[in-house]
Symmetry: C2
Subunit: 322 residues, 2 copies
């Protein structure tokens, strides 16, 4: 099977909303008047972002999910995406599975595949996603003093699964089975991001871990924050599993260091507290308040008695973790 | 140097036209009313699209050039691009050279870097470019019977250089030096593409070779074509070099099989002949008429006496040339 047959078989559908989809030199989109276009690119590399033996269907899901998560963090509605795929060889069962995972998530978000590129090379998946925003987008730079600090869903389970798969922690098969779903099939919080427009101030998606990503928000906003350790520690789902104690680590460590969660971390004024909970209910997305934005720079972790706790975890950096 | 320092040092500039550039979850663009957005992605893989020892400055140029060439083929004006870069390690001199080549071409086309991704992995460069079109874009599907068939610039020199570098043809150092410029630093014909709006019917950029890419146009348009071998053969610049005879192959073979030329192949009605030449003059881009579009399906090559010649060259297919 050649390049063009491959594209035709696995990655081509008639254009729906796009003026022109796969098959010409460019795709064409007609943005709606009054909207801005939100654009983000994310790349997944074998051996770095996923294990070589991951299910290709999960990989197709995740490659798009991490991009949709960026749209969610801006409060943007997904429109379309391009896929640039480097493959060692044409493996039809792999392509069938990969594309099934990709299409399923794309359909769930009404996000159209409009173009891309396919080439022979080490496995590398680069997706660029396009969305539309109206009014004020959610930006990293908009956190205000006094804002409540929120996180969607659960945190740290993906990190726990990764540590288990790497053999760094004794994670039982049952616990691994549960947590690796979070690592391999993250849920982009698109509906929540849309519902938070006009309610939240700042937002970011948590791909590199809570501490590292929250620091991006604080830096961009010129703010500081205090996180309640007890509230944050509750975010690890794995601690409710019967096998959890045998792992021998703390829930807080996984929540803070994290990575690969693709939850939203956002700030909103205290008077919007009920509106945040309402947005969460409407979109069926759990949210937890874990702290507060403050004018004093720096990130502080405190216990239930408001006493400072050490905060030594680092964020994920692709070139610092070779 | 970590991921975020790398992005800050080599790939961040203040947003100009974009509402938001590098540094948040998404970039934001405000398309002008009445325009459509043209989008294209191209990926370059080490060992497949370029030699490992290519000058990084040339690579930065080429990675963007092949994307701008897609915009040119639609008659779109470049706006912005994202860069997803996988690198084996942080090599600062390499990054400085690569980014210099990238910025130089971006600046020449007023095309802004608005976001992307950086990760550790086998060298892989994925660029997604965004442009704007107004009115009727140039599409592969618009060729009409009787249209004249045109090509910009020269064809086949990049192919000759590649054959020389691969040791498949005896290309002298002097001839290689001249032709590898065409391979490593292609010129995207953006200005010509813009000038041909409203004049040309169909267009495509020649990345996989004249025969293969022209067949895409014919298939999309439901047309056939006859190419004059004598006119096409003139497109190889290398044949005027004193070392050319020693190569021992025909100009026509390089022109037809080609690849990596990034010239425009386009069709326009005979009554637009002067308008095409005027567009070429205004944009200082040579153009050559090499044949004609016909209702009869198929691609035909004929000699000066209109006698058929064999047409056996294949187009480049990434999975058929392992």
């Amino acid at each position: 099977m050649g390049e063009f047959d491959l594209i035709a078989r696995y990655f081509t559908r008639p254009a729906q909303r796009a003026l022109l989809g796969v098959g010409d030199d460019c795709a064409l989109l007609q943005p709606r008047p009054g909207t801005q276009l939100a654009i983000s690119s994310d790349v997944l590399v074998a051996g770095r972002h996923f294990f070589a033996d991951v299910k290709p269907e999960s990989l197709g899901h995740k490659a798009l999910a991490v991009n949709l998560s960026d749209l969610a963090a801006c409060g943007a509605r997904p429109l379309a995406f391009t896929l640039a795929l480097s493959l060692p060889q044409v493996d039809e069962p792999w392509l069938a599975d990969f594309s099934r995972g990709l299409w399923a998530l794309a359909d769930a978000h009404n996000c159209e595949l409009i173009g891309g590129d396919t080439t022979q090379g080490p496995l590398n998946i680069c997706i660029t996603v396009l969305g539309e925003t109206e009014g004020q987008p959610l930006l990293r730079s908009q956190a205000q003093p006094g804002d409540e600090l929120w996180v969607s869903g659960s945190l740290g389970d993906a990190h726990l699964a990764l540590q288990g798969l790497l053999g760094r922690l004794p994670v039982s098969a049952a616990l691994l089975e549960q947590t690796r779903q979070r690592l391999e099939r993250p849920t982009p919080r698109v509906a929540l991001g849309l519902a938070l427009r006009g309610i939240a101030h700042a937002a970011i998606d948590l791909s590199d871990g809570l501490v590292g990503d929250l620091r991006h928000v604080l830096k961009a906003s010129g703010m500081g924050a205090t996180v309640q350790a007890k509230l944050a520690a509750r975010l690890l789902t794995a601690q409710h599993h019967p096998d959890w104690p045998a792992v021998g680590s703390t829930a807080l460590a996984h929540v803070l260091a994290g990575g690969d969660d693709y939850e939203l971390c956002f700030t909103a004024p205290p008077e919007a507290h009920e509106a945040v909970l309402q947005a969460a209910r409407l979109t069926q997305t759990p949210v937890t308040r874990i702290g507060r934005i403050e004018a004093e720079h720096g990130l502080r972790l405190v216990d239930a008695q408001q006493q400072p706790l050490p905060l030594t975890v680092a964020s994920y950096d692709h070139f610092a973790h070779p």
